[in-house]
Amino acid sequence: MNLSNGKGDRIFGVVVVLVAVAYGVAALQFKQGFIVDPVGPKTFPLIVAGVSVVCGLMLIVKPDPDPEFPPLRTVGTLLMAMLTLVAYAYAIKPLGFLIPTAIAAAILSYQIDPRAKFAVAAGLGLSGGLYVLFKFVLGLGLLGVPKGWF
């Protein structure tokens, strides 16, 4: 068995099996609800866990050839994009729509095409343009800037 090709599928298969077993074990703890039915709350999740374990094992035994994994630098960029979005999710409520959107959009734009001036313009344009669109054209209840600024 050639272990070097198909690493991606094999690792994923192992993860699937572990998660599915944990899922099944969790399902075994469920107690019947108020109305007792023959299937109960655990049968269907157990079937799902069983199917997943079989599929996970299939991936380990017979993986597809590996896709082209991105180089480490690209993985870094993607992590950066993800963190930007997480920060954005936390910021949009307290800081309003305009400022976080401009920053997040500019970062993403720069990551797709590293042209700084364009990215800044894209960030500002998207932030302002989408705000007008959502707030005034579509009538969504968005807060533009933090409360108490104006």
């Binding site: 991606g8 599928d9 994923f12 699937v16 599915a20 899922y23 399902a27 469920f30 019947q32 609800g33 108020f34 039915d37 023959p38 299937v39 709350p41 049968t43 269907f44 799902v48 866990a49 199917v51 997943s52 599929c55 996970g56 299939m58 017979k62 597809d64 896709p67 991105p70 690209t74 960029t77 993607l78 994009a81 993800m82 979005l85 954005y88 999710a89 936390y90 409520k93 729509f97 959107t101 997040a104 959009a105 993403l108 734009s109 797709i112 095409d113 042209r115 364009f118 990215a119 894209a122 960030g123 344009g125 998207l126 932030s127 989408l130 959502f134 579509l138 969504l140 209840g141 968005l142």
Partner: protein, 510 residues
């Protein structure tokens, strides 16, 4: 005539200025979404759902808007296929085969017009058939009990996974993951499952969050990885004239392809991509080697476009009558219905005729609007192709966030959406289909409940699941649908689609 009075009811709704305006806006947005590589019908519609609901549109209005986007995207997909050799969405893949050679010969305008008319013929045929077939199928659905529904859901998973994916294990796994996610939350018997004590999860995971994450957010990650490669700028299209004679010469091609495409669309799991593939292959074998398919002939753009638009209409049939979507985009449309608290199926036709017939009438109107937009006004949409990805994709991301944020108002759902986006990116790397995951999240609870009801009816006797002719037929079809592609794949090789010229991000889910 029953159907005429129903259609009259439909048109009385569809022709109100408000509904008409929504249909036109939907067609416009849809064509743009379809034309842009990287945004296809499913992620385009997914992106718009939360915003539509935040605007507080009623059921008919929301459905008209979003299905117009769906139809529009099916029309628009051909534009970048022809001009850039990059399919705007997966069903438009086959259109590149003859469309791009035509454009290289300086006949881009002709190719756009012919394929636009073919799209119109296919979509119009499918919409008329939808009006004729759907009420009949809805009546058949009255015969379905919980055991039959359980088998039907199984059929949907097995064919969607079996036909659409290259690896059965991965397709089945994707379905199981979706079903597993659907179990999270409080079940209908008041048992809390898989929440880990997190109150946010008691209501389960909102399928809209999953859909937007898997379809739209992951797309942005794919673009960041590829740095927007493969999206060309500076497309030129000179003048657009209507080649009447050439259109007339493809009339039988369009008609045949519409019929075959519609059938492919109605079958669960097949969807528009298969429709365009089958119709192209059919016309190619009818025409023989003399017809010159692949070198830029009119029939080569007419067949796949009539086929995929007919399939798009056909895919609405099982979605509306049985609540079982046949493709990624109809799965997204099912999410629309579920959010609107509309249960698809026979009761929808009986109790909410204004929704069904208003929708069908709107689609008929939308087709004429789309023909107008996609033939005389096609130049506007060609301009859209010059929008750089570095502006477009951040825009998509921000729209996803605003949609989910204004719908749920919670940072937790936005974090979940990012998680689904990352998951979608990893799964696309590993070639695990994401559509079955969505289908699993959407249908998981209904599937479990039908199993529980069936077993309650039979007092726990599992043979009840196979006790009627319909359910046995569905089980056989489900097993065949899952196993047959294993053998067929060896016999039928995929056509030689220009693999190298299709970047990853131009292959969104059908």
């Amino acid at each position: 005539m029953d159907i005429l009075s129903n259609l009259a009811l439909g048109f009385s709704i569809a022709l109100t200025p408000w509904t008409l305006m929504l249909a036109i806006i939907g067609c416009f947005i849809g064509t743009i979404v379809g034309a842009l590589p990287g945004l296809g019908p499913s992620n385009g519609v997914a992106l718009l759902i939360p915003i539509t609901f935040s605007m507080g549109l009623d059921a008919t209005a929301a459905l008209v808007l979003l299905t117009s986007v769906y139809y529009g995207a099916m029309y628009g997909g051909r534009i970048s296929s022809i001009l850039l050799n990059i399919p705007g969405d997966e069903p438009a893949m086959m259109t590149t085969l003859d469309g791009y050679p035509m454009a290289k010969q300086g006949r881009a305008g002709d190719a756009l017009v012919i394929s636009g008319v073919a799209s119109f013929v296919g979509a119009l045929f499918a919409t008329i058939m939808l009006a004729l077939v759907a009420p009949i199928l809805a009546r058949v659905a009255y015969l379905f009990g919980p055991a039959e529904y359980f088998a039907l859901y199984l059929l949907a998973f097995s064919t969607l996974g079996g036909i659409a994916s290259k690896n059965q294990a991965k397709a089945a796994l994707a379905s199981a993951i979706g079903l597993g996610i659907a179990m999270i939350g409080i079940d209908n018997n008041n048992v809390t499952r898989f929440t880990g004590g997190n109150l946010h999860l008691n209501d389960g995971i909102d399928f809209l969050v999953a859909i937007v994450g898997l379809f739209a957010v992951s797309e942005v990650f794919v673009f960041i990885e590829s740095h927007g490669r493969g999206s060309a700028l500076g497309v030129k299209l000179d003048k657009v004239t209507v080649p009447w004679r050439e259109i007339w010469s493809t009339r039988w091609t369009m008609l045949r392809s519409s019929i075959l495409g519609f059938i492919a669309g109605v079958l669960p799991g097949a969807g528009a991509s298969l429709g365009s593939f089958l119709t192209y292959m059919m016309e190619k074998s009818i025409g023989g080697s003399k017809a010159g398919f692949g070198t830029g002939v009119a029939k080569g753009v007419a067949a796949p476009e009539a086929g995929n638009n007919a399939a798009a209409g056909g895919a609405l049939v099982p979605m509306l009558t049985l609540g079982v979507p046949g493709s990624g985009t109809t799965a997204v449309l099912l999410a629309v219905l579920m959010t609107l608290n509309i249960t698809p199926g026979p009761t929808l036709f009986a109790n909410r005729p204004e929704v069904v017939w208003g929708l069908i009438a709107s689609l008929l109107i939308a087709n004429f609007v789309l023909l107008f937009m996609n033939v005389p006004l096609v130049k506007i949409f060609v301009k859209v192709l010059t929008v750089p990805p570095a502006l477009l994709l951040p825009g998509v991301m921000m729209v996803s966030f605003v949609g989910i944020y204004s719908l749920t108002g919670s940072y937790y759902d936005m974090l979940l959406m990012i998680a689904f986006g990352v998951m979608g990116w990893i799964f696309r790397k590993l070639d695990i289909p994401t559509v079955p995951i969505i289908l699993g999240i959407l249908l998981g609870n209904a599937m479990e409940n039908s199993l529980r009801q069936a077993m309650t009816l039979s007092a726990g006797d599992a043979s009840f699941l196979f006790s009627s002719g319909i359910s046995i037929g569905l089980w056989v079809a489900a097993v065949t649908g899952f196993v047959a592609p294993l053998f067929l794949r060896r016999i039928i090789k995929k056509p030689t689609v220009p693999e190298m010229e299709v970047p990853d991000h131009a292959k969104p889910i059908d």
